[in-house]
Symmetry: C3
Subunit: 345 residues, 3 copies
């Protein structure tokens, strides 16, 4: 069960070219992507209307896509332009293209009713396309349902345990109360950790030995887009009051895109606004994040393995789970509402 009328991140801009076909399954539906001569992204079902062959094994011919099983051709809008052995092209041969918007290096796709695809609903991740911020784009593949990863992103009390030696910090961090607000289609989470030792990954890029004030402020919105302003500043320099001079700041953009009920594409990036003339800092920041996300990957897959043994298990909500509890409720309500509308139509 997936939310359909919403924007999913389909991939990074650089993954889709005009010279080869790219395939990714999103909410259980295989999609083939390419660019036309003007660089616009085309997205069609990766399934030929004729006999179901994958179009991503096809061939680009003057901006059109030919299925290399029996030669059926489609243009960027999904209109069938050739079938073998007959002049007449049956109406059922056409494919419905998916609405696609490319913005700030992410390609967004709408898997639901095309008429409802409103680009103004796309979250603003401006720093992914700004000279003020440097980062390396990346993606991991999970063999678990996307909600288990959303849970992880919505509760940072796991940092000192899962990420003790990477993104973490002292055990006290887990006890810091996060401020959680409900916003449109999601949540805003703010967590300050004052006058504490810098996290290991911050030490690596700063060589700081003094204590810091550390913040994590993020929006998490449907269907699974995580946008975080985080950083650390020397303790007592007024970061909480708005002064970020002398601070190291990060902007994180992450997106969960369900592949199937049991697998997920996880797009991520961690941008920094300092030492922009030193690419090794970008590398180090990225490597720290990857190391931490591999720790999450290990834990979440292990958790999924345990959960698979007993579908009747009920999780026990703690106070730290208020954000993820609200998100799961919001997701469930949104899916139900969408399905009710679909049944009524």
């Amino acid at each position: 069960m997936f939310l359909k009328n919403t924007w999913y991140v389909a991939g990074w801009s650089h993954e889709i070219t005009d010279t080869s076909l790219f395939s990714r399954t999103i909410t259980g539906v295989p999609v083939v992507f390419w660019r036309d001569a003007q660089g616009r992204v085309a997205a069609l079902p990766d399934r030929c209307s004729h006999r179901g062959a994958p179009l991503s094994r096809g061939r680009l011919e003057d901006g059109e896509l030919r299925c290399m099983y029996h030669g059926v051709k489609f243009n960027c809008e999904g209109a069938c332009t050739f079938v073998p052995g007959q002049e007449r092209i049956p109406p059922g041969a056409n494919l419905a293209p998916f609405p696609v918007v490319e913005r700030n290096k992410w390609v967004w796709i709408w898997m639901g009713e095309a008429a409802k695809a409103d680009p103004s609903l796309i979250p603003d991740t401006f720093w992914l396309d700004s000279p003020q911020w440097h980062y390396k784009p990346d993606c991991m593949h999970y063999d678990v349902n996307y909600l288990l990863i959303a849970d992880n992103l919505l509760d940072f009390s796991h940092l000192p345990f899962v990420h003790e030696k990477t993104l973490g910090g002292s055990t006290e961090y887990a006890n810091v109360r996060a401020d959680v607000q409900h916003i449109d289609r999601g949540l805003r989470v703010e967590r300050w950790f004052m006058d504490a030792e810098p996290a290991p990954f911050v030490k690596r890029v700063t060589n700081w030995t003094q204590n810091v004030d550390r913040w994590n402020m993020y929006d998490f919105i449907l269907p699974g887009v995580f946008m975080m302003d985080s950083g650390s500043a020397p303790a007592g320099t007024g970061a909480r009051e708005g002064n970020r001079v002398g601070a190291v700041q990060f902007r994180s953009a992450q997106a969960l895109t369900p592949e199937t009920e049991n697998s997920t594409h996880y797009f991520f990036s961690q941008a920094h606004d300092f030492a922009l003339d030193d690419p090794s800092v970008t590398d180090t920041v990225h490597a720290s994040v990857v190391a931490g996300f591999k720790e999450d990957w290990d834990m979440i897959h292990a958790q999924a393995g345990i959960l698979s043994l007993d579908p009747g298990f009920k999780m026990m909500p703690l106070n730290v789970d208020n954000a993820l509890g609200y998100f799961r409720w919001l997701m469930g309500r949104s899916i139900s509402a969408e399905q009710s509308l679909a049944r009524a139509a």
Copy 2:
């Protein structure tokens, strides 16, 4: 769902010997094969009547087969001749042998009611056992339902796309209308492609540079036996009117034998009647066919992967699909009729 009262190809003659046991699962039923002292093929369920151990892990003892779990023995006709620990052999210990006919290097098996096994129903593949034709026997294993492979064999419009550089030819080939006739238990398909460039695999054995007239004429009969007369002759030399002097001719024998609902044994051969004194031509012809069939294998597995994501997908019939559409209808009707009779009995 399989047709049971029909002859399936169980294997090539050389696969079954009197020195070792051979196992193959056919229509979901494991079968063990061997030869008796007279060279006759025995075929029994590959499942001991006692506790279900595979008899193919057993031992041949004077033409009888001993299960190597607890020592139960069977003769070629499936009669149990020994059980451990008691003199009396229970009637339930006997196994029902499968009717088997060996003909033209193929071993045919009947998985249904033995009383209905009529050898005259076996298709004639005489060239598999004729000095006028040379070939190499071969077999591939597919992890897809056999109907997807039958579809492929029944529509040659895929040749210029799947097999562009191997068995194919120009894109025009896909537009040639095939003549399709209904025959007893199947179809006869005839396709002529006049005055065109030779296919890559024909060039390799002829060095022809001139255009050719090319034909593919085949019978495809239940449950999945493909017998083709094909070839190419210099254009305008009257091949279509019956003159095959100067032509290169091929006889293909192929058979689809379902292993399970999702896997298939695919037996094949491509015989030629020219250059019989040059074994390298046999090797080249065979290698060309294998290269082409691997292209089919890749495409059909990819297609099956896409189809598995959405069981509700309906294929869109084109004119080129009339042969395969009829075959699927005929297969469905035959299975229904067989099952109705079985229920009535």
Copy 3:
């Protein structure tokens, strides 16, 4: 379907330490084990009450177990002693510990109602902790239902076939009638094979060339504990009447512990009471048993593969199957009785 109110072997004593966590799934339930400072074995569900993370990926802290996802802590009795972000520990946070008894190098666990866990029900395997007997503890993992392995252990007519060159002996062995008695919660099987060639594995440790009298006497009790007194003595020296002077004697302790419906932990050992000053004899005896058990493993997995093709297959009981037939009946009745009681409660 498993019997729950019974003692299962959870592992060998040496597998569980006070320095690391040990996980094993038993009757479909993941369990985490460790030892406290006093060396007592703790056994809790290997699933954090909070969000289901595996506790076996956690950390031991002063004898308590901390979940390394969000930091929740448990003591040896399963009481939750810490949750992140709040003072109050919800009652649902506690875990129910499994009753555990360590005896004779085996750790026994009770997966059912703790109040019914009566240590006096644990079978006596004294030789596993006696200086008079030497052995090497071992374990194999099967990907089959435990009943197929119980079948194997309850019918030694397979010895001359599966184990022809290892544990076996002449084919005549299969015809020896075993004496089978019903005992409390199981069976007692006794089988004598008089004046015959020694089994291959006995030859290896004795160099005997004369014939022997050979015995196998074992109890097999619910849920799958096999305890065997076996041996061979020079033929005619009165072993059957009780004289074991000059004999080689073995004590075998084996236990089947279901992991899931389709997988099983198989603990085993083969102790000997001769040549105690020669460790190479212990190695040889153990290697012989392992070689034989690998033969069983191969055959039983092959059998399970055949059985999986047709759930409707009915095994055909022979006289040699009377012990395993009774055991399957007893197991079925015990599970039914337990489930009736559970429904009534």
